[in-house]
Symmetry: C2
Subunit: 411 residues, 2 copies
């Protein structure tokens, strides 16, 4: 069953506000099993609200709307709905009472304009708002169920969960299942090519891709005659996806790359030390964004200056002078130093040129050395990453974390 | 002149992604003086893309579209546009070359499917994409200028600024001017209250707010009979905004908080060392995201374990044992230690409990100690931040940077 989301407000069309309501509602509808075919945002213009509503009702069976229910003159949703339905407004005394009581609770007197929030199109079902003044309502527009809520996210979410979900849950087709994979290491185009033909081989399966630099998420959505067939189909197609992508898949669903690396360290029973230069703390930040990093992380020494590389990690001046701070030799000494100073089992060091300045002919922007020191010895890798500063930093951090993960597995 | 924004992608209609592109583009169009009358989001469905495009072209003179230009089978924008125009596709050799060179630069071979990204509707103007593989394009749909860009925000923003703005700037009514302020330290509702009445006092001025945690951007948009009056009006209203918000404003336009702190250090001629615990590298990451941090940053010692606080910063065991790692005493010793080890002029230390676990009755989750050591001495501050792990880390990092900035000014 198809749904649409309509958001009303000039603050949205002017780009003053990011429309988090639409994605939140869409996600909720998708989770219930509905297909959301459109999100529409219009400004506070009565004619455009009416037109959007009439149009969406032709394609969708459920329309969830937010915004324009406030007390001010630019709040036009209710009159627009009444106009679309060709009915008048009537005041709901229970709602008026609710609004008045809310104001009294706050020690204020209800103003004339707030009375407007108790007016609804004739025939509408009022949806109570326990967290704010403006109640919502439900009407039928050309056979579609149309729900109207205030735009305040907190009030809207509560009303959606309490008043809308129970009214629409049984209308959702229970015939789809989705599996999500998280990948790192290949560009979107190559991931897509590797999975070429899967949609043809498994009828009813749709593959989706989402690039969230530097990761690509792969989604396997299966629809079948019923839920059990959809689950079975999704699982068969997912086995093929796993088979084709192999190690490029690092996790499922809501896994994060740093979380997976942390898990590998925990499984191996290893503590970690980091020595960063060009990544400036990003590796530590990625690992400590996740709760529980204190299980394994002892130290992240961001030794930005050469003097700090010497003072904290004991990198000798000869190495810095002879090879330069961006060199395999210095990366190795940084990793060894971080391991020694912290007493960690494994240490990762990254030194490079993130740009935009600082590159030379022999050492261009993007050149990065990554070293991993573990009980078995120290390995160092040279890479040249493309793009701007932020890309180089992110790719270097991910490459470093990859090497730590590999060390946990292989040693 | 009216505009519409069309975003294409099932990841959007399924609510997997918040549509930040639409608000960014709408904000840009509004700033240029255009009126955005609709944002529309459709899934990766050819018929629905065609229908949306044809419909929007009836109401808007400029349509800015993003998404669906990737190399995979679910990327359907180009074929949909060709179908809406009733034309075929033709391959652009220059674009193919650009894509091939990008791949070569990355040391990879261009795949067959990437060739698809060099196909455009016959008659389209190609818009180069310096930051990614997929070029954009421009066509006329029923007299409306329609621009198509990839959905990757970084590529899209660059293409909008470089390729679209110059093509549409002269079409905008030249009667508005906008001033932007960046603030940190007050919630949006309080910022709004402080500015209450400004719109009434300066007719023609609209205030906009955009929350980008933990910052609030304030936009002062003025419209007048002509550009000069709009500039004058915007400046008078902005003076009042500055007057009311005072120190809460840390910069203008595209300033970043870390950048402003870096500027303060440079102006003071100071070098900086950092010692982080609960923020896990975030402070270093914020400072080094900006180019030029090497001018002042010597060291960021993320001493996550107590052993690292001792080994790297020389925090004595008695302090750790007697007061605990999260204490004013340890924060002070971390700052002093970082300053001593690195030889920096000023040092910032942050230790706290970011949660979700680790809190106690006397030391709850959110408790953070921040110390700044500078030539004049060391100050330490206790704060309790609300919210989840990520909030606590971010608020603590910003509070620490604020203290460094204050030290640069006051010492």
């Amino acid at each position: 069953m198809t749904c649409a989301v309509l958001s009303i407000g000039t603050e949205l069309t002017r780009g003053e506000l990011v429309n988090t309501n639409a994605s939140w509602i869409s996600s909720g509808l998708t989770e219930l099993g509905f297909e959301v075919i459109e999100q529409c945002v219009v400004d506070d213009d009565k004619a455009r609200i009416v037109a959007a509503l009439e149009r969406l009702a032709r394609g969708a069976k459920i329309i969830v709307c937010t915004g324009g229910l406030g007390p001010t003159t630019d709040d036009l949703t209710t009159v627009a709905v009444a106009s679309a339905l060709g009915v008048g407004l009537e005041r709901d005394e229970a709602s008026l009472d609710h609004i008045r009581r809310r104001f009294e609770k706050l020690g204020r007197t209800m103003s004339e304009s707030n009375g407007k929030q108790a007016d609804f199109p004739v025939g509408a079902t009022v949806l109570p708002n326990p967290l704010g003044t403006a109640p919502g309502f439900k009407v039928e527009v050309r056979g579609a169920h149309a729900f109207f809520m205030p735009g305040v996210p907190r009030e809207m979410k509560r009303m959606f969960d309490d008043e809308i979900v129970p009214r629409i849950r049984d209308l959702a087709p229970n015939d789809s299942h989705q599996v999500r994979f998280r990948t790192f290491g290949l560009p979107e185009s190559v991931v897509g090519e590797k999975l070429d033909g899967i949609e043809a081989a498994f009828a009813g399966v749709t593959l989706g891709y989402r690039a969230h630099f530097p990761e690509i998420e792969v989604k396997v959505l299966a629809r079948g005659p019923d839920r059990a067939s959809a689950v079975d189909l999704a699982e068969r197609a997912s086995a093929e996806v796993r088979n084709r992508l192999g190690d490029v898949i690092y996790g499922n669903g809501d896994d994060t790359f740093a979380g997976v690396v942390g898990r590998a360290l925990r499984t191996r029973g290893w503590t970690l030390a980091i020595a960063e230069s060009c990544t400036g703390g990003l590796v530590g930040h990625l690992l400590t964004k996740e709760p529980g990093a204190s299980d394994y992380l002892l130290l992240d020494a961001v030794t930005y200056a050469n003097s700090a590389k010497q003072a904290v990690l004991g990198v000798d001046e000869d190495a810095l002078r002879g090879h330069g701070a961006v060199s395999a030799e210095v990366a190795t000494r940084m990793a060894d130093g971080a391991r020694r100073v912290s007493g960690a089992d494994v240490a990762l060091a990254i030194t490079g040129i993130a740009g935009p300045t600082g590159g030379t002919e022999t050492k261009p922007v993007g050149l990065v050395y990554i070293a991993v020191a573990c009980p078995k010895g120290t390995v160092v890798k040279q890479q040249v990453f493309p793009g701007e500063r932020h890309w180089i930093q992110t790719l270097a951090a991910y490459a470093g974390l990859s090497m730590v993960r590999a060390a946990c597995k292989n040693t």
